[in-house]
């Protein structure tokens, strides 16, 4: 998948590029509206990550023109302004999602995947996870034909780890994903342990869930 990152803060753009490249995305960078438009004219992208405060104008003004060149791309607005009007204006102009800065790259990637599933109609078969199968779209985890009952938060947790498989996610990253801005790091990280314990219990009934690893002192990882 091809991604255009329109972000004037170069260090930030490089970090995003770095991260997305590892997740097998192909990235282009643009630091101004003009630059961004030029790239959009000559290339076709699946994702356009758009910062709003650009040196040569408001990123929002770029959106309608961008849609002309890349009507099928998914647009995600990234901004430090984070106010409601921007969000509404952005979504009105056809953006697919909105992430207020500072955001976690893991969160960005999981949103991109969610959009991809929704927008690009990626015909996702059931994805294997150990002896289990995961359906991210329908939010199901199956063992052969049996559906395993997980609570909403438990599934969120498992799918987040699953999306970022082979990567250790810290308790804080997990609780931030689950409870968003309401997460209270020191406080809620304990509940991650409780949830993981529950998930393991529910999975172990059917088959060993040893793909879900505890990394001592750090967090959890799904090993594939």
């Amino acid at each position: 998948m091809k991604v255009l990152i329109v972000e004037d803060e170069k260090t930030l753009a490089y970090e995003m590029e770095d991260f997305l490249k590892k997740a097998f995305y192909i990235c282009d960078l643009a630091h101004t509206i003009k630059d961004g438009l030029e790239k959009m004219e000559s290339n076709s992208y699946d994702f356009i990550l758009l910062d709003l405060g650009l040196p040569d104008g408001d990123g929002l003004s770029l959106l309608p023109k961008a849609k002309k060149h890349n009507p099928d791309a998914a647009y995600i607005i990234l901004t430090a302004r984070g106010n409601l009007e921007d969000r509404i204006a952005g979504l009105d102009l056809g953006a697919d999602d909105y992430l207020p800065k500072p955001f976690s790259l893991l969160e960005l990637q999981s949103r991109m995947q969610a959009i991809a599933r929704r927008k690009f109609n990626v015909k996702e078969e059931l994805l294997p996870l150990g002896d289990f199968q995961v359906d991210l779209q329908k939010r199901l985890i199956l063992f052969q034909e049996n559906q395993i009952e997980l609570s909403r938060k438990e599934f969120d947790l498992l799918s987040y780890l699953f999306l970022h498989n082979n990567r250790v996610l810290t308790r804080m990253q997990l609780s931030e994903h689950i409870w968003g801005t309401f997460a209270d790091d020191d406080y809620d990280s304990n509940y991650i342990d409780a949830h993981i314990k529950n998930i393991r219990k529910k999975l172990n009934v059917w088959a060993p869930a040893d793909f879900l690893e505890t990394v001592r002192g750090v967090g959890y990882r799904i090993r594939k």
């Binding site: 803060e9 991260f19 409601l84 931030e176 409870w179 309401f182 750090v218």
Partner: protein
Amino acid sequence: MKLSSKLILFITSSKLVVVLLFVFSLPFLVSQIVSEYTNYSLRSQQDKVINVVQKNGIQHYLQGDDSYGSYTMLKEEYIALEPAAKNKHIDTIKTAQRIVERDTLTYRILIHTFNYDQKNYLLEIGKSISSINQYNKTLQKTALYVLMGLIALTLLIDLIFTRILIKPLGKIIKSKLINRKFPFKDYSPPVPTSTQDFKYLDESLILLMDQINEAFEKEREFTANASHELMTPISILQNKMENLLGDENLPESVVLKIIEMMKTLSRLKKISNALLLISRIENQQFVKSAHVKPSVLINEVLEEINHRLLDQEIELKVDLKTDQMLVNVNQDLLFQLFYNLINNAIKYNVYQGSILITDSHTPENGYSIMIQDTGIGIAEEDLDFIFDRFRKANLSENVGYGLGLSIVKSIAQYHDIEILVSSKVKEGTTFTLIFPAK
């Protein structure tokens, strides 16, 4: 007491004192004046008598008699003339009784001796006291009536004038102080007045409020800008750390250090976010158009926060009887408000404590919701500061970052919700939200 009432009271009572003083001193004054006048008229009569005696000769009056006496028909006045001992010298005015034709009457009498043809004579001129006093009463009455009339007139004028005079002050107080809520956004025009002092007061108040507004505006702007400007560097740091953690070859000690850094960064992020949220609320950047039921909101909060309740085995009871609809509110903000209050009720509770959420609707107080916990409570001396930013009550452990209640306060203010807090250390705290009557 209001200035106008004070002035009215003072003016009225001072006039009353004048009237009373006058009423009490009037008889004395009148009699004093009358007696002065009597003395004066007696003296002038004496001069006239001596003049006519000099002119006509004493024999003209004595006509061979020893003495001369004359009185008016009603015996109100008399004049007597008689020879006196040679060495007798009297010149006095006194009040004494005289028998005039078998009537004993009290007179004011002038007694005067004088020489005529080497002989000493005694002259007596008398005026009856009753004739002297006959005008006293009427005089007093008239004086009293005139005075009362004048006093009433001046009182009226005074009151009208003071009212006109201090009217601008009332206007200043009304337009500048009462009914004005901080921040003073609504423009209040200068109050027209010709009184220099009021003008000065009014101008100073306008100036002061402008200055306060400006300072407040600057602070708000600063908070918004600072927290906003912090977001980009925080983003960079966070993403760099995330990318670092993605490296599987890192030694464990480094990983742990990065995690610690991320935690610290997350704290910084939360503080910035909270400050930004407060300044956005204060800038009225949220639309208040939702209609929500408190029970719905509270259920949403509980869904989000339930795990914390379970962990502490805290019993939470929601007993909303009226379940009033809250109109023209911002749902996200109210969610945050209830979230923060319930979160605090859990955070500062004791193991196996309880939380009770109730509501009430009374005609006088309107609709209110109470959140009551059995937690550690807040010391009385800390109660005034719990809504201040970064101010935490003296707790043994450092919990939270001290902005939760500031956010609550901003949201409440934005919705005109009044918050009452009552607390007892080791017994618990009750937050009461009083919603505005719509």
